[in-house]
Every structure is written in structure tokens, then in C-alpha cells.
């Protein structure tokens, strides 16, 4: 478990954060022994961790380790896949997201998601951002909501003169910020981001990362990324996932280590983490 991180060219000093001490962290999610299986094959098992308010928490790990599956547990999007079974608990402010009678619509009102490939609706920019409020019945002062969301997503200045234009006429980076604005318009508490910048060029990526810094003042953010440098740049806490093989060779994702980002990248406790962040595998 040596601390030789010379091989890792990660710029932590610029973002070396003093995380608030544990006593001052507020828990938003408490995950207990979570497991997900598709048609009987376990994709993820025995995950337990806590997510803190106004932190950016990153999930990293090799492909197939279940991090996308995991993030989709937070907003019940796994429920759309037939054959997906979730075991364990996710306590959101003390209430189990997978308890009886929990309504996915209520969950998703409070926990929003941005996807890997920007997926604007084939409608105007305005209608994209207004869609969430409209379906949730938040139609008062709709224009203000749209403007506010677009400002928070750092897109307002670029589109304010063409709100009626089609969303598909925007560039990739703008489309992704539009999707973020769309998510913000329903005033969630938590924003989930599944590899939000992996389909974008480096400049657009930087803008998204800057946005994450801005947004975490008001929101709690969980981001899945396959780019370790990105995790080191934006995340306060990082969770490293890996793959174990079962007796018959099935691959299942597990949580290996979860700690402050600076510790994960400079002094990981688990050898597997060290191997991954130094680039020895994955």
C-alpha cells in the first residue's frame, strides 16, 4: 500500500479540498447492502455507503463494474428494465426508496438525472426545459422557471434569443447543458449524472465540470465517470467499484473503497484501488 503516486499525473493540489469533518456532513442517502440482478444474474451486490449533501460524489471503476446500474437505483430508473430486481435499502432522508408504495414519480421529482449522450427532446429549447414542470403540475410562472434553470446551467445567454428554436440545432455541449437545465427546472434536491461529459469535446467537458462546481452549492451531485482525472478534478468523495468473479465465472460488481477523493488517489487503502488509479489495470 505504498503511497507512490508518481505515475499518476493527477492535479490534486489545485482542487485540494478541505472537506468538512465528519461531524458536519449531512447524510442524504444511506445505502445498505444494495444488490441488483437482471434475470437472476447478479450485476451488483453488497454495496453500502453514505452520500452527503452538497458534495460531489464520484463512482469510478472499470467497465461492467455496475456503477451505471448503481446510480440508476437512486431514481428508480432500473424499474423500467424488465427482469431487474433490487435488494437492500436506500434510505433517502430516512425513508427507504424501495419501501412499499413508493411512487417512482415522486422519487424522480426530487432526484434528477443527466445522461451520457445528450438526449434533448425533439421540441423547442423552451419546451424542453418546460417539459418537467408541465408534467409535474408546476406551471405557475413557467417563463421564470425556464429562465432560472437555463441560467443555472450557464446556457441562458446563448439561447435567450431563440427559445423557440429546435433543441436539436444546438451543439453537443449546449445540448448537454440544456439537459442539465431541463433537470434543474423541476427543482430537485439531488442530481445524478451518468458520464455526462464522455460524449463531449474537451472544452465542453470543462464547462460541464465547472458547472458541477457551481451547482454543488445548491444541489447534491452524484456522478459516474470512467475518467479518473475528471473524478479527481470534481469530486469530493469517490467510490471505487470493481468486478468479482463467481464460481461459474459470472461477473458481479462490488464496492471496493469509498473515501475522500484525495485519499483515494494518494493513499488508497485497498490494493485493487491502487492498481486502478495508477493505471495498472482497467
Amino acid at each position: 500500500m505504498s503511497a507512490t503516486m508518481a505515475a499518476v499525473s493527477v492535479d490534486l493540489t489545485a482542487r485540494a479540498r478541505e472537506l468538512p469533518a465528519k461531524e458536519f456532513r449531512e447524510v442524504v442517502f444511506h445505502v445498505e447492502d444494495l444488490g441488483v440482478s437482471y434475470n437472476g444474474n447478479a450485476a451488483l451486490q453488497d454495496v453500502s455507503l453514505e452520500i452527503y449533501r452538497n458534495f460531489v460524489t464520484a463512482f469510478i471503476g472499470p467497465s461492467g463494474c455496475g456503477k451505471s446500474t448503481f446510480i440508476r437505483c437512486f431514481n428508480h430508473l432500473n424499474g423500467l428494465i424488465p427482469g431487474a430486481v433490487v435488494e437492500g435499502k436506500i434510505l433517502y432522508h430516512g425513508e427507504d426508496l424501495y419501501g412499499p408504495h413508493v411512487d417512482p414519480v415522486e422519487v424522480r421529482k426530487r432526484i434528477g438525472m443527466v445522461f451520457q449522450k445528450p438526449n434533448p427532446f425533439p421540441k423547442s429549447i423552451y419546451d424542453n426545459v418546460a417539459f418537467g414542470p408541465r408534467v409535474l403540475g408546476m406551471t405557475d410562472r413557467l417563463d421564470d422557471r425556464v429562465e432560472r434553470a437555463l441560467e443555472q446551467a450557464a446556457l441562458w445567454d446563448e439561447v435567450k434569443d431563440r427559445l423557440k428554436a429546435s433543441a436539436l440545432s444546438l451543439s453537443g455541449g449546449q445540448q448537454q447543458r440544456l439537459c442539465i437545465a431541463r433537470c434543474l427546472a423541476v427543482e430537485p434536491e439531488v442530481i445524478l449524472m451518468d458520464e455526462p461529459a464522455s460524449a463531449l469535446d474537451p472544452i465542453a467537458t470543462t464547462r460541464i465540470e465547472d458547472l458541477m462546481h457551481e451547482l454543488k452549492r445548491d444541489y447534491t451531485i452524484i456522478v459516474v465517470t470512467h475518467n479518473m482525472q475528471q473524478a479527481a478534478r470534481v469530486a469530493d468523495m469517490t467510490a471505487f467499484f470493481s468486478i468479482t468473479r463467481g464460481e461459474e465465472g459470472q461477473r458481479t460488481g462490488i464496492l471496493v473503497e469509498y473515501d475522500a477523493t484525495s485519499k483515494i488517489f494518494t493513499q488508497p487503502s485497498d490494493k485493487r484501488t491502487e492498481d486502478y488509479v495508477t493505471g495498472r489495470f482497467g
Binding site: 465528519k22 461531524e23 456532513r25 433517502y92 432522508h93 425513508e95 411512487d103 426530487r110
Partner: protein, 309 residues
């Protein structure tokens, strides 16, 4: 862990505020729409087979299926369906002589010989042939084909199985061509390239490599075309004839099963009479024949899709 629970931003209510019964209503309404198609099938089966069964209580099914005289209105009536079946088959065979070889020929041309632009223009034009209403084809058979047949010296009268069959064959040509061409297009190019590299000619590749590889789709197209020929009504009603005729000579006038149903159904036949029930007996026979052929065709199409997709 000395962390505190974060206070929830608003009153936390993860249950739905009220049961979304609107969603349930929607699902029921949509399922009802889907049910219409089920009801249609049930309706067809009931409409055909209930009166048909009644019919077969009065008329022996053996007489029906083997009798060679169809005269339901005579005294005494004969209910042998073979003349109608023969009429149908005669017209179908004539149609097959046109649509099978030339439909396949068109498909081979489009698939193996035509360049992409030609194919893009020709294929939709072929679809136009399929889109002409059958009553127009019937008119064409009567007013153009029959006189031409007479012109070349064939002893055909106003009505003949041949005239109707030829026109029906052209009408079905796009069916054979389109499905066969899809099937041939699905054959991987590597197979052809391998054969060409060995020095084969295009004729050899088309006939010895591509056709065998696409055979189940091609046969499916034949079966589908034959099934459509059997079920076709207007061309035969207008151009083939209205008298049942137990013959294998295509130059003669015949009445097909479909033409009989149409002719009788148009009349003011009293409900429940034996004559009325003949509509359903013949209809049931027709339905069974086409149903079996459609099953075979669908099965074959599925098989060619599985092999290559």
C-alpha cells in the same frame, strides 16, 4: 459515524399523493383497442364455422369435398365443391405461371444486376402494380386481355380462366419480386464475392449461390402469392365466369370459390336457407386453405430472417 441526517428540503412524501387511476384507465382502454383484433378473429371463425357446421349437418361433408357437381339451386341440389375448387386452382395455376418465374426474374435483376440507383427507382414503381385496385385489373382482363387472346387465335370466350389468371399473375408479380428480393438482399455479400473470386459468372452466382441461400424467403413469396391468388375475388368475378365448371381447360369459363361467394352474397338470399349456408361452407373451405398457406409462409419468412439477422 458522527454524521447528521440532512433535513429533507420539503415535506418528504415518497408515496403518491393519490392513486394514479388515470394510468390504469389508459391501460384498460388501450387493451380494449388491442382486443378488437382478437374479436375480429373470433368473429371470422364464428361467422364462418357455425353456419358451416349447420350446413354439414344437412349435406354430407364427403359429398361436399368429393362431388363434381355444384348446383345448389337445382331440384335435387348438388353440393360438390370440386368445380369451384377446380376453378380456383385453374386460375391460380395460370397466375403462378406468370408471377413465379417473372417475379423471381425481376427479383434477381433487382438484387444481382441493377445498381443502387436503378433499384431505388424500379422498386417503388413495382409497388404501383401492387397498388392498383383489383376491380381495375378485372376491367383490364375483360376489355384488353381477352380480346388479345382471341386475336392470337385462342378459342376463348368472353370469360376464361386463362384471361383472369394471366392478369392475376401480373398483379401478384410485385409480391413475389419484393419478398424474394428482400430475401436475396439478406444473403451476405461474402458468399457472392467468394464465388466471383473463383471465376463464376453472374448467372452462376445468382442461380447456384444466391437463390439456394435465399430459398426459404423465395418459397415464402411463392406461397404468399398463391394464397393471395386463391383469395382474390374481383378479377375472377369479372373475367373468369359465373358458372361452376368441372374442367382442367384454362380456355373455358370457370367460377371460383370467391366468385361464387360474391355472386351469392350479393343476391337477396333468405337468411338460414341452405343456399345462404353455402356461402359459409365455401367460405370456410377458402379460409382454411389460405390460413394454412399463410402459416407456412410466415414460418418460412421467419426462418430466412433467423438465418441471416
Amino acid at each position: 459515524m458522527a454524521t447528521r441526517e440532512a433535513a429533507a428540503p420539503q415535506p418528504l412524501r415518497l408515496r403518491a399523493s393519490r392513486r394514479r387511476w388515470g394510468e390504469d384507465v389508459v391501460k384498460v382502454v388501450l387493451a380494449l383497442c388491442a382486443f378488437v383484433s382478437v374479436a375480429t378473429t373470433v368473429g371470422i371463425v364464428v361467422a364462418l364455422f357455425v353456419p358451416a357446421i349447420e350446413f354439414f349437418r344437412e349435406v354430407s361433408i364427403v359429398d361436399f369435398l368429393t362431388g363434381t357437381e355444384w348446383a345448389p339451386l337445382f331440384e335435387p341440389p348438388s353440393f360438390g365443391v370440386l368445380p369451384l375448387v377446380a376453378g380456383t386452382l385453374l386460375v391460380t395455376v395460370c397466375a403462378s405461371f406468370v408471377c413465379i418465374p417473372f417475379g423471381l426474374g425481376g427479383a434477381i435483376y433487382l438484387s444481382e444486376y441493377a445498381n443502387r440507383r436503378t433499384r431505388r427507382i424500379l422498386k417503388p414503381m413495382l409497388e404501383i402494380l401492387a397498388g392498383i385496385p383489383t376491380v381495375v385489373y378485372g376491367y383490364f382482363a375483360l376489355t384488353f386481355v381477352t380480346p388479345r387472346l382471341q386475336d392470337i387465335g385462342l378459342p376463348v370466350g368472353v370469360f376464361s380462366a386463362l384471361s383472369a389468371g394471366l392478369v392475376m399473375g401480373v398483379m401478384l408479380l410485385p409480391t413475389v419480386a419484393s419478398i424474394s428480393e428482400d430475401s436475396m438482399a439478406a444473403v451476405p455479400q461474402d458468399l457472392r464475392d467468394g464465388a466471383y473470386a473463383l471465376g463464376s459468372t453472374r448467372v452462376q452466382v445468382s442461380t447456384l449461390i444466391v437463390i439456394p441461400a435465399a430459398i426459404s424467403g423465395i418459397i415464402a413469396s411463392f406461397v404468399l402469392a398463391i394464397s393471395r391468388a386463391v383469395g382474390e375475388t374481383m378479377i375472377v368475378l369479372i373475367a373468369a365466369g359465373g358458372q361452376p365448371n368441372w374442367t382442367w381447360n384454362p380456355l373455358e369459363a370457370v367460377q371460383t370459390m370467391t366468385a361464387f361467394i360474391a355472386a351469392t352474397g350479393q343476391g337477396d338470399v333468405p337468411t338460414g336457407s341452405i343456399e345462404y349456408k353455402t356461402i359459409f361452407a365455401v367460405g370456410a373451405t377458402l379460409f382454411v386453405m389460405t390460413f394454412v398457406m399463410n402459416l407456412i409462409s410466415i414460418r418460412l419468412v421467419r426462418r430466412f430472417r433467423e438465418v441471416y439477422e
